[in-house]
Every structure is written in structure tokens, then in C-alpha cells.
């Protein structure tokens, strides 16, 4: 038992006592009859009609209200993960939910949760950001992109495929979304910063030597690192990244007869366990 300094039989609970029954926030909140405040802004006076949803999302997550063009860039990245294709794992969760007649909120929440993955979706962003931030530190210490790639590949467990977080994707090689976002960034007048310049170099090395290339997560991590965002902030910003695509797959399945999404016969599952056997009797 930890002491409070005066009585060895009483724990020091001052941390919790100070917060019991009172909530102090730097985010904001509702002052009834006055305004809804958000990081010092009056939401109905300063934000609604003046800012985009994605500006407010960034404000809510980070406490910093960005310029509009960054929010527009962010919105475009959300469109990039809004595929209405139920073969994608998170989208299939939405389709299954529609087939099972859940609420849309349950379906979309479950789909977003499924995309918090080490394979795809927002679940890879924190690791992708950590990679490019560390890589830039190394480049500034004199490492070339070739050496950064070789070092990262040498650290991979199993020495299998050259899959660096942010620089490969499942199902296909190449990433049409990166080219689209590079175009959007150019049109918005957003120059490539040092993280993204290095990311392009790493992409070139991987493409030349291994047939892999930067994916959207790698691009987003590098771009937003250049904008001053940190890995945990990026992961929070993108936590509902796939929601729109899940919506599409839910809606289509929900509008069709229940339980008809890719129906499976018993023998559509391969059983590879112990054959049926009698239950032991007694102890």
C-alpha cells in the first residue's frame, strides 16, 4: 500500500479526488443559452458556415484549426478510402451487417473498427508515420534512401516479401490513390516537404529493386508529418477513414433480401479438424 505521506494505512488518492465529480476540459462544450465552444471558438458563430467539416475534425482532434486547403486535402484522402467494394474486409463487415439487418450505425461502427488493422486502413498510420519520421532523421544523419530501405528490410521478421509499412498493399501492387492525391496536393498548392520528398525516394528504390511502392498510408504519413502532425494525431484523425465505403456496402446488402450476401453452403467451408468422435463418458 502506498502511503500518502502521513498515514501508512491510507493510499494517496489526491489525483482522483481532484477529478471526482468535476470535469475540467480544454476542448470546450455547451454553455446552455450562450454558445457551444470548441477550443475557444463559438461553433455556431465562428465555425458553422465558415469552416469545412474536415477543418473542424482536425480542430477537434488536435486543437489546431488548419487552413482550408489542408482540410480539402484531408477530405480527398477520405474519398480515396471510400470504395463501395464489399470484398474489402471492413466493407464486407458492413455488407454482412446489412444482410443481418443491423442498424446503419452498428454496421459503420463495426466496419470502421475492422479497418483498425495492421494490414490496411488507419491501423497502419502510426507505424507508417514512425517509419518516415525515423527515416528522415537517418537521412539527415547522412543515410541514403537505399541504405534506409536496406536497413528496414533487414529488420523484417522472416525475411519474406519486402513489405515496409506504408510501402506495400495487399491484393495488388501500385497504388492509384497516391497519384490522385499527388495531383490534388499540386492543385491545392501544397508543396512536398522533406518527409514526402524522402518518401518518394524510398518509393523509387523499392520500385526499382523490389517491385513495391508507396501506398496511400505512406503518402498520408509523410505529407502530414511535413504539416507538423504526429503519429498519434494522424491515427486519431483517420479513425473513421473507411466509413463511407462501409456505408455503401451496408446499404446495398440492407436493401436486398436478408442473409443473401454471398450465401454459403455447408460444404463451402472446408473442415480440417478432428473428425466427429464420441464424447467420453464419466470423468
Amino acid at each position: 500500500m502506498s502511503s500518502n505521506g502521513t498515514d501508512p494505512d491510507v493510499d494517496d488518492t489526491a489525483c482522483w479526488d481532484a477529478r471526482r465529480g468535476i470535469f475540467r476540459t480544454r476542448k470546450g462544450g455547451w454553455v446552455i443559452g450562450e454558445a457551444v465552444y470548441n477550443h475557444g471558438y463559438s461553433m455556431m458563430d465562428d465555425l458553422v458556415g465558415h469552416c469545412s467539416f474536415f477543418q473542424v475534425l482536425l480542430l477537434n482532434v488536435t486543437g489546431r484549426l488548419p487552413e482550408r486547403r489542408l482540410a480539402d486535402w484531408l477530405e480527398a484522402t477520405f474519398i480515396c478510402l471510400s470504395w463501395p467494394d464489399p470484398r474489402i474486409w471492413c466493407n464486407q463487415v458492413g455488407a454482412l451487417a446489412g444482410s443481418a439487418r443491423t442498424s446503419p450505425a452498428a454496421a459503420v461502427a463495426a466496419g470502421c473498427l475492422a479497418a483498425d488493422s495492421r494490414l490496411y486502413g488507419p491501423g497502419v498510420l502510426e507505424a507508417a508515420t514512425a517509419f518516415i519520421v525515423a527515416a528522415l532523421d537517418r537521412q539527415r544523419a547522412g543515410w541514403t534512401a537505399e541504405r534506409i530501405v536496406a536497413d528496414a528490410l533487414a529488420r523484417l521478421p522472416g525475411q519474406g516479401r519486402p513489405v515496409l509499412v506504408g510501402y506495400a498493399r495487399p491484393i495488388a501492387t501500385g497504388d492509384e490513390r497516391v497519384a490522385a492525391m499527388a495531383r490534388v496536393a499540386h492543385e491545392l498548392g501544397c508543396p512536398d516537404g522533406p518527409h514526402l520528398q524522402l518518401a518518394w525516394s524510398i518509393d523509387a528504390v523499392l520500385g526499382r529493386d523490389h517491385g513495391e511502392g508507396i501506398n496511400l498510408a505512406g503518402y498520408v504519413a509523410a505529407f502530414l508529418s511535413d504539416q507538423g502532425y504526429r503519429g498519434h494525431e494522424i491515427a486519431r484523425i483517420y479513425s473513421a477513414w473507411v466509413n463511407s465505403g462501409v456505408h455503401a456496402c451496408y446499404a446495398e446488402a440492407r436493401d436486398r433480401p436478408a442473409d443473401t450476401f454471398l450465401p454459403m453452403r455447408c460444404d463451402d467451408v472446408e473442415y480440417c479438424g478432428i473428425p466427429p468422435r464420441p464424447l467420453p463418458t464419466g470423468c
Binding site: 500500500m1 498515514d7 494505512d9 491510507v10 493510499d11 488518492t13 482522483w16 446552455i32 443559452g33 450562450e34 454558445a35 475557444g40 471558438y41 463559438s42 455556431m44 458563430d45 465562428d46 467494394d85 470484398r87 474486409w89 471492413c90 464486407q92 463487415v93 454482412l96 451487417a97 444482410s99 443481418a100 439487418r101 443491423t102 442498424s103 452498428a106 454496421a107 461502427a109 463495426a110 473498427l113 475492422a114 479497418a115 483498425d116 488493422s117 495492421r118 494490414l119 490496411y120 491501423g123 495487399p170 491484393i171 436486398r256 433480401p257 436478408a258 442473409d259 443473401t260 450476401f261 450465401p263 454459403m264 455447408c266 463451402d268 467451408v269
Partner: protein
Amino acid sequence: MARSREPSVKSRGERFAERPATRLWLERPAPGNPYLAEHCYCHGYELDALMAGRRFAEVFYLLFRGELPHPAQADLLERLMIALINPGPRHAATRAAMNAGIGRTRRPDILPIALAVQGGAHLGGEEVESAMGFLAANLARPPAETWQSAAPAGPGDRRAAPGFGSRFGGIDPMAARLAGHLAAMPGAGPHLAWGQAAAAGLNPLGMGWLYPGVAAAALLDLGFSRTQGAGLYQIFSAPGLLAHGLEMAGRPITAMPFLDAEHYVIERD
């Protein structure tokens, strides 16, 4: 930054409780730390004593019903929980769990994803809740009179009522057999018996028991309320959902089907 007063928005002035109240669980604080519980009581019984002397099904019943069950009730609940332990690998909720597993979703999220799907109105928790309402409302009627109006025909499964209908164009033999086992138990009551007769009346129409109906009847016989039905059904199926999700979690993504272009057809108007 502008600060406008909104005179049209006024507090209702409602009185809110100063602290939440529960009948379920008492936590007695440790002498030197009021945030730590030293003893916990479930409806008055100390958890240590329940651990030492009672089966899981008995304590489960106690938690939701407020009193310990009779042995026959505990037996029926435990048998029901075994019957529902796994919706099987083809159920939508299980497939959601398997998708999450194969898609490298964080393992702690696999079960919540599956349970969200298992809350649905088709073969899920919401159907259990609806079936409990249907059974409670019709228990006084002779089962044969219930199916006067035939379920409308259409594509996909038919429903005579929540918990009763067809699956894949036929009668679900597993649901029927499990219902029979449960209805024959000493703890079974009028809802399972009514459902047995009602399902028999439906069989000539190509319909019968569905799993949510079986669960609904058994839960009503055990005294559970309709509002508890959906969540209990989710809990009962959770072991199978998690097991299937975790089984896939360590496998490569190629271990599950991914339709190729030939079998994924984008139709255009």
C-alpha cells in the same frame, strides 16, 4: 471570436441524480482507499462465496434475474448456452469475425465487430427481442390459430413471425432439434411448449423454429425479460464468434476467398 447569446435555448432545469444507482452490485471500499473495492456482492451474495459454491450458469442467472435459479432452471440455462455457443462459420456475425481476423484487425476488436452484426434483426439479437414479444403476446392463443395468415412469399427467407420461419428455403433442422432437447427438460415452461406446437404447425408450410425463436422461448421460460433478450443472445454466441475470428487472425489473407474479376460483376443501369 463572436459570442452570441441564444435566448431561445434554455435549460429545462431538470434535476439529475447525484450518483447512479444499481440493484445489481455492491462494492464495499477498502479501509484505506475508497476507490478500491475490498468486497463485491451480486444481489447480496459475496462474489467469493459465489466463486466457491456456485456454477457459472447460476451466477449468470443471479446477475440478470436477481435471485439464484432452481437447479432445473440452471440446467436449462446452461444447456441453452451450450446450444447457442457458436452460430457457425457461415453465420453473418461469424463471418464478420473471420473477416476481422484475416484482415489483421486489432484482436481486441474482433469480438465487438462480430457482436455488432449479431445484434441484427435477422437471426440476431434484435430478432430474439422481437420473438420474445411475439411469444409473450400469443402465449394465451392456441398455436394452431397463430398461423392463419400465411407468410408472404418473396425472395429469400420467409418469416411467419420473429423467431419462426424458413432458412435457405427450408426448415432449420438444428434449431428444431435443439428446441426439442430444451423443451423436454424439467426447467422448460410454457413458451418452449407453445413454440414446439407452433413450429409443428408451420412445418407443412416449409417453416419452423429459428435459433432466435428457440432462444426467446427458453429465455422467457427462465423468466428473463424481453429487454434482456438481445444482449443475452449476443453473450451466448460470443464464444463461437471469437473463436472463429481468432482462428483466422494468424493466417495469411489468402486463406479466405477474395472474389476475382470474373465473379465480381459491376452492373450498370
